[in-house]
């Protein structure tokens, strides 16, 4: 056996245990708890997405805020250079709103102030998040992925009515 200084040996043992703990954490979180990077809930053809009859994003813009049941809404938002459709959404206070956002051209972003809704919007993929609005007021949403010269005009409002 080669001579190993006890302090050095303890250090080797300590770091090995630390590595094993982290390795286990990675394995358990990915396989046991199923942690994943946010995956698209649905894939679709960005060329056809805005075509009437092909998808809910092809419906008239005033029909894209849908009341599933009292106080339960889903909103189909189409992001394109350089606006959101619809750009104004109205729901009553206490509503649970599911945002389904997709892009028909380039990469966009969707961030809703005052909530944890913050998504990357890619053409061909659907970004989906749900938020509940217990306080009346105006919530602004913006595109926060640079998408061209008109990027700064890409915003809208969610109005929660009392």
């Amino acid at each position: 056996m080669i001579h190993v200084d006890p302090r050095e040996r303890n250090f080797i043992i300590g770091t090995t245990i630390l590595l094993l703990i982290f390795g286990t954490a990675v394995l358990v979180s990915s396989f046991a708890f199923g942690f994943q990077v946010p995956a698209p809930v649905e894939r679709l053809d960005p060329k056809l997405v805005a075509t009437p009859g092909q998808s809910p994003w092809g419906d008239p813009v005033e029909e894209r805020v849908r009341e599933l049941a009292p106080n339960k809404y889903e909103v189909y938002i189409l992001a394109q250079a350089w606006n959101f459709q619809p750009r104004e959404i109205r729901v009553p206070v206490g509503s649970t709103v599911t945002f389904m956002v997709t892009s028909k051209d380039v990469q966009h972003g969707f961030r809703l102030d005052g909530t944890n809704v913050n998504m990357m919007v890619l053409p061909g993929e659907v970004a989906k998040l749900t938020a509940t609005f217990d306080e009346a007021g105006t919530y602004n949403f913006v595109c926060h992925e640079y998408c061209g010269v008109g990027h700064h005009t890409m915003y809208g409002q969610l109005i929660v009515e009392p």
């Binding site: 286990t24 394995l27 396989f31 029909e63 049941a69 009292p70």
Partner: protein
């Protein structure tokens, strides 16, 4: 190694080594087992998506029909109305096709189909019975049900998350959708399209039936492990 064991004073040291070897050996085995289970996926299960809504409706015979009547049975849900001329016609055809293939699934629990009518004003029991007979529905397998507009909205819109709305001409805008619900009333698969792959629906019926058959003893833990490791069909 054998020589060192015989020396005085060394056994303590070598048993310390043994503990470390056991520790690393067991750890390696566990890691290998986890990686094998989640990559080779010996068991496939359907995800437990969310709880299906409870309901209290009446069926095509005018009798009470509730979610409790379907406990312990594997049920495929679908939504339509008898005046439909849009995608919901196609979804009813899918249901009919699934009904004709249900006997090919090896199951120890009843497999059922349920269609809700979203148009309670026009679809009374007689109307639903006539429409379902036209589709070749077997009344003991394929149930039709409807109820008050308010309850339907909360069950279908709120519970299943399927949007529908009446239009000015009396027709409905309805998103096509199918839901597979297990015996505990948990949604295990959803197919939000008017033309789902029927082979996949039959496969999913089979997966749920297999899970019921393996719900006891050691198998139960293996199936729970499959849920834990997200062994879902690809």
């Amino acid at each position: 190694m054998a020589a060192t064991v015989t020396k005085a004073g060394t056994p303590y040291k070598s048993s310390g080594m043994l503990i470390w070897r056991l520790f690393f050996g067991l750890f390696g085995l566990m890691a290998a087992g986890v990686i094998w289970f989640s990559t080779a996926r010996p068991i496939t299960v359907l995800p437990r998506i969310t709880l299906a809504p409870g309901f209290y409706l009446s069926d095509q015979n005018g009798e009470r029909f509730t979610s409790e009547d379907l406990r312990g049975q594997i049920v495929l849900y679908n939504f339509t109305y008898t005046n439909c001329t849009d995608p919901c016609v196609a979804t009813s055809q899918v249901m009919a096709e699934v009904q004709s293939r249900l006997l090919t699934v090896d199951a120890s629990v009843p497999l059922k189909l349920v269609t809700f009518s979203i148009d309670p004003d026009r679809d009374d029991a007689a109307q639903m019975a006539a429409y379902s007979t036209e589709l070749g529905a077997d009344g003991s397998v394929w149930h039709w049900a409807t109820g008050g507009a308010k309850q339907l909205k909360s069950v279908i819109g709120g519970g299943f998350g399927v949007f529908y709305d009446v239009r000015e001409d009396g027709r409905f805008k309805l998103d096509p959708a199918f839901f597979l619900v297990d015996g505990s009333g948990v949604i295990r698969a959803e197919y939000r399209t008017e033309e789902p792959d029927i082979d996949i629906i039959m496969r999913d019926f089979g997966l749920l039936a297999a899970e019921v058959d393996h719900s006891e003893g050691i198998y139960r833990f293996a199936y729970e492990a499959a849920h834990l490791f997200s062994c879902y069909p690809r």
